[in-house]
Symmetry: C2
């Protein structure tokens, strides 16, 4: 069995995630057949003052409580996931799209285990000053620490 049969590619639609995408696609040649495309929505990005625990929401519930302008943001995320799916399908992958609400690293590790993926492909910002201050890249760090499967860490170009 190929070691990389099923791939998890989490994306926040950033430039860095785009770099990681090239590697995820390339795993097709290493025997990868399936890919799970995951986008995690942090409820903290949205205005949800009425919830004690916004992390308990699912996407539909989140959607129903958002003001119109933020619904558009969420719809745009779904569209971007669809476009991404098209790219992976063109490369010959069986594609599953997952959109969840939560803490990105926790959701990535949870979905990796639930889906039984063989590798997670994720971007890593490295050690720039701004990144250290803003703790960008801590999602990748937490995923490396917590995931049970191998993680392909892709650095910023």
């Amino acid at each position: 069995m190929p070691l990389f049969k099923k791939v998890l590619y989490p994306t926040d639609f950033s430039e860095l995630a785009e770099t990681a995408k090239d590697y995820a696609l390339k795993l097709r040649e290493a025997g990868a057949e399936e890919v799970v495309l995951l986008h995690v929505i942090s409820p903290l990005e949205f205005s949800l003052p009425q919830f004690d625990d916004p992390f308990a929401l699912d996407v539909a519930l989140l959607y129903s409580h958002l003001p119109e302008v933020e619904r558009e943001v969420l719809k745009r995320h779904q569209e971007m996931l669809d476009i991404l799916a098209g790219d992976f399908e063109k490369a010959g992958f069986n594609v599953k799209k997952v959109l969840t609400v939560g803490t990105p690293s926790d959701e990535i590790v949870r979905v990796a285990e639930e889906e039984g993926v063989n590798v997670i492909v994720i971007g890593y910002h490295g050690k720039g000053l701004m990144e250290r201050i803003l703790e960008i890249g801590s999602t990748a760090k937490a995923v490396i620490k917590k995931a049970e499967c191998p993680v392909l860490v892709v650095k910023r170009r």
Copy 2:
């Protein structure tokens, strides 16, 4: 060009490195053609009281200053690297063996850059209590942070 044409596989000959080896070998199917097998000798493993900076040594110099019993350890490392090379050659790789003296993470990043590899395959111990106390796994962490190329992080089975 395949994204994983040239692979760096650093090993300390541990069980964890052995797990990572399976993935390094499997990259052959992802288009990998060359592999650099690296073993870094920490001078701190040996008795070298007469050196102010044992990290300034190369392998030959280290060897010449070792007592007989420790020379045997060093020879054994070289033999293990030869055996490893055989496994990778059998899988169809062009193999280069590198044995250096220094701090493992620094040497791994230096060799990765000098050799222009496309990916480093390394084992990661994770978050066991003993590992946290002994700081095992910090080599992988430092490599992920400092390397410019992608790093395939393989967890303990």
